[in-house]
């Protein structure tokens, strides 16, 4: 630190050493500390499942044992993987379209009161209509291919994206915008340098909801009419009273949701390191 910093009280220096990032060991121990509770709970659930199945408290054709489920997962891995890929593909495509359309709609709505007044009631109506109820209609219109599944995923994931993005864009400090106008900034500069980045934390909380909903959307689409995808697998297994396959399908489906959620969170950390570090310091300074 140079000499000219005499006016800086030395006590504040401690706050700025974020360059000393924690070592790998520290990070794993922190991860363990944070995650042992949920991990223990998950294990307890598995154990309970195991006990119920092993003691045959419930008929095996109603609740298969974890072993039987695992057998299906490994024995029919190819079959499950093939359908998992279809569902993942539909989910991702639906999610991405929802993000692009949602962000665009939000920006237009924030910048034009007329568009907002026109579009908002329609959006709300579209959200209130049960997507599961209109899913059969989409199959009638679009056939048995992947189009109706993607459409349902888009419709179901779209709402949280729009709402979070609108909230984010509107949550910008009004003084920051006034400051921007005293700097002679163009609306585009203000959008790119202030509004857009300021809205990203809000957007990401919406994206996390949206990505898990997109999985639901895709599976609902498959339930209504499909010959591939995990929804189809579950429906088939259900018809054959093949509960191990049904459980396997459910597990994989949940896993898709979890993995996509984690991916969005990783993207958030990479894109908004300032936001993540802010939250972390918030956690470490409280007891």
């Amino acid at each position: 630190m140079s000499q000219s910093a005499i006016k800086a009280p030395p006590a504040q220096v401690a706050g700025v050493d974020r360059r000393n990032s924690p070592s790998a060991g520290e990070r794993t121990s922190r991860l363990l500390k944070q995650s042992w509770r949920p991990a223990a709970l998950l294990l307890a659930c598995f154990a309970a499942w195991w006990v119920i199945a092993a003691a045959e408290l419930v008929e095996p054709y109603l609740v298969p044992s974890p072993g039987a489920t695992l057998d299906v997962l490994t024995g029919k891995a190819d079959y499950i993987w093939q359908h998992t890929w279809v569902t993942t593909y539909e989910t991702l495509l639906g999610f991405l379209i929802a993000v692009v359309v949602g962000v665009f709609a939000a920006v237009v709505m924030v910048y034009s009161a007329t568009v907002e007044k026109t579009l908002y009631p329609i959006l709300l109506f579209a959200q209130v209509v049960p997507k599961i109820a209109i899913a059969p209609l989409f199959v009638v219109w679009l056939g048995f291919g992947i189009a109706p599944k993607i459409l349902i995923a888009v419709l179901i994931a779209f709402f949280p994206v729009v709402i979070s993005m609108v909230t984010g864009l509107k949550a910008v400090d009004p003084e920051m915008l006034q400051l921007s106008s005293t700097m002679g900034a163009s609306p585009w500069q203000t959008f790119v340098k202030i509004r857009m980045p300021a809205s990203l934390p809000h957007l990401f909380s919406g994206l996390k909801v949206a990505v898990t909903l997109a999985v639901t959307g895709a599976v609902v689409g498959e339930f209504v009419g499909a010959n591939e995808g995990l929804g189809y697998v579950i429906l088939q297994a259900n018809g054959n009273l093949d509960t191990p396959m049904l459980f396997a399908g459910l597990l994989v489906m949940s896993l898709i949701g979890v993995v996509l959620f984690v991916l969005v969170e990783i993207a958030e950390k990479l894109l908004l390191p300032w936001h993540a570090s802010r939250r972390e310091t918030g956690v470490t300074t409280t007891y």
């Binding site: 910093a5 800086a8 706050g15 700025v16 005293t182 570090s277």
Partner: protein
């Protein structure tokens, strides 16, 4: 130092007769009123405001909460349109947001994803200043305000005083002829506030910029300013304009002990007391 050390015509500012149009006044407020329309009634925030601030002067505005002090600054910046009267800035009529000013709010209003330095450079980016010039100015200001060593820190890693220094650097980057400050140190603790006052006095002398400072603190106003504008509450009017009568270079403790300082603070306290008693 290009500044006048003698205090300039305090009385004439009240009737606005001191100088003709196009004179050297940095800020001219002529017969200004501001009315807001709320749901069921009109609220007069400011009325009969006449004020002239010569170039290079430091003018502090004090008054009770809700007397329209901040509104007055927004008028000068062109962020708000007066309902009546004229506002002149650097000899031009204010019509819309002005770019020849620097603005500091009570909250630092920093972009939390940008480091201290990049927050300061926002001013340069928005103005499309040559990158080299912006960087050089930023470096000068960082050294001047004691931010060296904190350039790369994010706002949430800085103390309130440090954040406000960043905001001040950002406001000064383009060397504005007029600096508008809206309770810039209101959220700081007493010690940091004293420190910032001392620095602001030095920065003002070094840059020669005109300063309009809104504050709640009578001693801050008298320590920093050439003239103190005392305002009354709803509808906000100017009660009196007081010459502090101190030299521009001021040592904090020494100034506090001077009779001129004592006299000014006592007088202003009396004015504000009378105002709030009548309220």
């Amino acid at each position: 130092m290009p500044r006048n050390t003698t205090v300039q015509e305090p009385e004439v500012t009240k009737d606005g007769q001191s100088s003709g149009p196009g004179s050297t006044a940095a800020v001219g407020i002529k017969d200004v009123a501001v009315r807001f329309r709320t749901k069921n009634r009109d609220v007069t925030a400011l009325t009969d405001i006449d004020l002239e601030v010569p170039m290079g002067q430091f003018v502090a505005i004090v008054g009770p909460s809700g007397c329209g002090k901040s509104t007055l600054l927004k008028l000068v910046a062109g962020l708000l349109k007066p309902s009546a009267g004229d506002v002149l800035l650097n000899g031009e009529r204010v019509q819309g947001a002005r770019h020849d000013i620097g603005y500091v709010f009570q909250r630092a209003a920093l972009l939390e994803w940008r480091s201290a330095r990049r927050n300061i450079l926002l001013q340069a980016e928005m103005r499309k200043m040559p990158a080299e010039l912006g960087r050089r100015r930023a470096d000068e200001l960082i050294a001047m305000t004691g931010l060296s060593g904190f350039e790369d820190a994010l706002p949430h890693e800085l103390s309130g005083g440090m954040q406000q220094r960043v905001a001040l650097c950002r406001a000064l980057l383009h060397e504005p002829p007029v600096l508008l400050m809206d309770e810039p140190f209101g959220a700081l603790d007493a010690l940091t506030r004293e420190q910032m006052n001392t620095e602001l006095n030095r920065i003002w002398r070094e840059t020669g910029t005109t300063v309009l400072l809104v504050t709640h603190s009578i001693s801050e106003a008298c320590y920093l300013a050439d003239q103190v504008v005392v305002m009354s509450p709803r509808p906000g009017t100017i009660t009196e304009i007081i010459d502090v009568g101190l030299p521009p270079e001021r040592d904090y403790t020494e100034t506090m002990g001077r009779p001129e300082f004592q006299e000014a603070t006592t007088h202003i306290r009396g004015l504000l007391g009378a105002v709030s008693a009548a309220d």
